[in-house]
Amino acid sequence: MIGLLGVVAVLGGLQDPEPRLRARLDSVTARTVEAIVDSARIRGLPTEPLIQKALEGRAKGAPGPRIVAAVGILLDGLRRAQSALGPGARGDDLLAGSLWFRAGGSPEQLGRLRLAAPDRSLAVAIAVSAELLTRGWPPEEATELLERLFRARVSDSAFLALRTGVNDAVRGGASLVPAVRAEVARLVPGKGQVP
């Protein structure tokens, strides 16, 4: 009986092949991506972003090896984000965390953001910050200012407004980093200076 239960448990853990991958990708690429997706599932990571990454590659005409590489890089980003944010992190936060890494942030910095805001979703704030990192905001300064903003309980909509304010200032001729500091100072008066 115990053996039978073991077999049932093993069979229950196996997932059906992902039909969207089989329908859109060549068989070798589909099987490889499915293996990556299974690996994510076993680790408790969200699988849908990985599937979507593969489908994005297909839509953009990328060859199979490049699709597999992209999905693997995303899996690594999700895994590192999970390590930094904790096993209970939401899928959105993990996806945003992977963006943070691609933009130059580190797992240690991401973990500090989690500590500064243990009870809220970080996705919007991290996504806004990741975009600013790619434009030249230094990751360490970003982390320290984000910690302050989180401790001041700045809302998601305020983070989006910060981005709008920065863009407006840059369009007006300001440099990015001073513009970010000015917006942070507007949200948390006296706290926008370089740490």
Partner: protein
Amino acid sequence: MRDDWLDSVVRELKRPTPVRPDFDRRLGAALARTPRPRGGWLLGVGAMAAGALLTTFLWKGRSRGPAPVEFLIDAPAARAVTLVGDFNDWDRRRTPLERVIGTSRWRARVPLHGGLYRYVFLVDGERWVADSTQLTAPDPDFGTTVSLVTVR
């Protein structure tokens, strides 16, 4: 192969059980004499309140469906614009935008559940264009910038 013990059990179960004619009357009288628990009305009201709360909770959960999200792009020279992203399996045929009459803008409304989505516009079936009004992220994997939308 017969099982005598099982046969005897079956026979016993099938045997009619005699019930005295005044059984119903005596049962009713016994129940009438049994004291009812005090505060029963309170339990009833509590149960009704719990039921109402549960119904409300379930109804709210059921009604929390996807929220319509509007996507807009200004593309005066475009002949066709489609929306592709995490919400439609990056299928370039699934979400065409409609041109807003009398303008150069194109629009689509997509019902989305809460989450963070990556997307891009595809203009004339060949040009990938990020949404300049939304968050963006570079996509070094496939060489185009994607936009991000968050839905609560």
